[in-house]
Amino acid sequence: MGMVHNMLNWITANQQMIYIVILMIFVGIEVIGRVPSVLHTPLMSGANAIHGVVIIGAIIVMGKAENDNYLALTLGFLAVILGTLNVVGGFVVTDRMLEMFKKKK
């Protein structure tokens, strides 16, 4: 009972977020639904770069880490590096792919 109660409270407290989740699911499907298969690889790669937004979490972890909390400092630092790899690598690779899609005149 307590757990159900807790979860319900949590849903109410996070209702905005839950609305975003539901709406974004539909937006994501709508946006992708019209993609020609020609663009599947660049699209996957671009989407890959966008989920690199997880780096914001890594920055928050790192930025909140107390000076003596070595676990948070180490893992946070690593997370920032990995997240940046995802973002930068993802966008650059996608750009490289799309650069080749120049229309032939």
Binding site: G2, M7, M17, I20, N48, H51, G57, T84, G89, L98
Partner: protein, 498 residues
Amino acid sequence: MELNILTVCYLLGAITFILGLKMLSNPATARRGNQIAATGMIVAILGTIFLYRDDDGNRLHNHGWIFGGILIGGVVGTLAAKKVKMTAMPEMVSMFNGMGGACAALISIVEFNRLIKHPSWTIYPPLSSLGPSAFEIHLPNGELLIILLGLMIGSISFAGSMIAWGKLNGTIKDFAFKGQHILNLFFLLLMFAGIAFLMTNIQRGFFLDIASTSIAAEVWVKLIFYGVLTFALLYGILFVMPIGGADMPVVISLLNSFTGVAAACGGFLYNNKVMLTGGILVGAAGTLLTILMCKAMNRSLANVLIGSFGGGAAAAAGKQQGGYKEIHISDAAVAMAYANKVMIVPGYGLAVAQAQHACHDLEKLLNERGVEVKYAIHPVAGRMPGHMNVLLAEADVSYEKLEEMDEANEEFPSTDVVLVLGANDVVNPAAKTDTSSPIYGMPILDVELAKTIIVNKRSMKPGYAGIENELFFRKKTSMLFGDAKKVLQDLIAEIKQL
């Protein structure tokens, strides 16, 4: 004021992600879409670094570390992305995807350790003195669940992506054993059991019953938490291990959407709407893309998830075939030079040989001679959906010449010569006729409808799915062995002499 600016930064970020994805879906705007999304990402990241405040109003610190990490990741990421060859693009995407998954998992680990240290998470005072309600009010259950989900999904995505990366670049071989499905399910069950255990026990303070001191309780909780992490990593490894060949695009796409969901967990955790938007967008879009690809191969997602493709494939390879016939390069050149219509079916072999430019040269040469040349692109040709399109685009092949599977199949009957360049499974008639074949039911390019089929391969070795291809033994088919680039260059030289 600052927080309001941060809100605007995040709003901009979220809008650019949606806009970017939308623009990525149109060839004319795709590149700009990617750049717009990247700009939004930079705004969101800089906003976070300088303007973010936690619930108590504290700013972030450790800026040196943050910028150091970004610098290292940025330099390595840019170099890796710039240096990678077109053939290695799929594994690069898989690698970057794994980095994102690992990032999400690391965030969960740090936040979990913070959570159990938090004063409101008290497991040691006797239940009687506080009463159960005291726990229920303070214990952040939703938060715990999100942390655990982020850990699980991020770790699976990381481990799976690394295996996919290793398999695509050839360092890891297909590996399957009996009972692997059961073991996979077992790990999955263990993960959920661990999560359920942590959820219920931290909630109710059950640890008082099994552990007399707080330290023992904390050790237990940590043990189970890292147990979930271990099982998630093992599951990620085992679930990609046996999957081979034609399924790899599906796996990368699926792992991509996993990482999206893991990023969204972070969004929930920090009440951060840009992370949530980006994560869920990718999660939803990636899942749809995955399902579309599964459909193209006539397999269910569940089958892929629990699945093994490579395992069953070897068994079906048995049947001995009759002889095949080889064609000389000059005969092939004549056949193509005097044809009305030539269709080229590119596959992974073209990518490996880096033969896209030679291929385009051949196309131009034939065009000059009045031969109509088109490309038939199977949705899962190569190692990623659209792999061939990217490759041919690199060589400046124009869009109008690329035909998707359905269009191409309508054109084969009026085609004189089909030139199969390093493609195998996507033209295997066993997909239509042999119910025991692992690729049975996958739609294929009906190259057999054409008058002549010339197949370029390096050898008679089976394709990535590990199965024989009857096509090579059919009467209309001739084999042209050799590296795709070399063969194309020879063809060009021969045709020029005609």
